[in-house]
Subunit: 152 residues, 2 copies
DNA sequence: TATTGTTATACTCTATAACTATA
DNA sequence: TATAGTTATAGAGTATAACAATA
């Protein structure tokens, strides 16, 4: 019942790059499902919650389209539905009357705060991390994101 | 131009848990967009590509619904569209005639192999990782996934 | 002319509910 | 009765193309 190495705590086998990406894909999917469920608890779709979470400052329709990585024509519908529920408001920008700023209302702020609060429970998975590991993970995630964004 | 500490390579500040989750969310979003774009290059939606990638063995409609975390009624449409293009085939299971196995055709295998091949370029971001960091990252991703799945 | 936002259109994914055919 | 799969339906996100208002 023993392997070739005799020592006690089994040395973990370093995963291959492909295995790491597989793990990352699985963790990402789990995160996305979690976020979708949390948003649904507040009566929001994931896109609506994502859009609301961007509105710390007012943003134009065009800026929202860029940050959400979708065509500008989609933003009209998403903002329509949020506005109909009073979570968001369109405002004309005086200096350029083509532009419409989207502003988060108080109700919208409340909704997204509830989402953020519920997501905090998710953070617990990483709460016990040592400082050294935090630095490694942050570096990896930034590198991964940069590499992916570059391809797009 | 110097800070309080004199030594040369600046010690990175360990990110907070919330900052780590923010980074993870951003990297996940980038990964998802990348996968969607790669699938689109092969004329597939991300759901179609995900479903095809599960078909190393034949799976029933019900099993596909579980693994894709959506209602069984959705699978009918997704498989319909894949089958219309010859990427997938429905087969009756003789021992239980209620069940339909979904089988990947040769064309379907070709398509998903092209997706996997194109995704390999994405892996490059993690290719230069040291063994110790791989082990840390794998452990983290598994813990994160387990924590998220548990909540669902 | 170029840009911002909207509309019209068509397609895919999504959940719910009701249905069928099997078990 | 319970399960596997389908259909019908309605709603939301998606891209494309054409359009009005403004720059």
């Amino acid at each position: 019942m023993s392997h070739s190495s005799a020592a006690a705590p089994a040395t973990p086998v370093p995963p291959t790059t492909a295995e790491l990406m597989e793990l990352f894909a699985l963790a990402s999917t789990a995160y996305f499902h979690d976020f979708t469920a949390v948003a649904a608890n507040q009566g929001l779709t994931s896109m609506q919650a994502k859009l609301l979470s961007l509105l710390r400052q007012p943003l134009s329709m065009r800026e929202l389209a860029e940050r959400l990585a979708c065509d500008a024509s989609n933003i009209t519908g998403i903002v329509d539905r949020l506005e109909a529920r009073g979570l968001v408001r369109r405002e004309m920008r005086p200096d350029d009357r083509r532009v419409k700023n989207v502003v988060c209302t108080e109700a919208g702020t409340d909704a997204i705060l509830r989402v953020r609060d519920e997501m905090r429970a998710t953070h617990q998975a990483l709460a016990g991390l040592a400082d050294a590991d935090r630095i490694v993970l942050a570096d990896l995630l930034q590198r991964l994101r940069a590499s992916l964004d570059q391809r797009a």
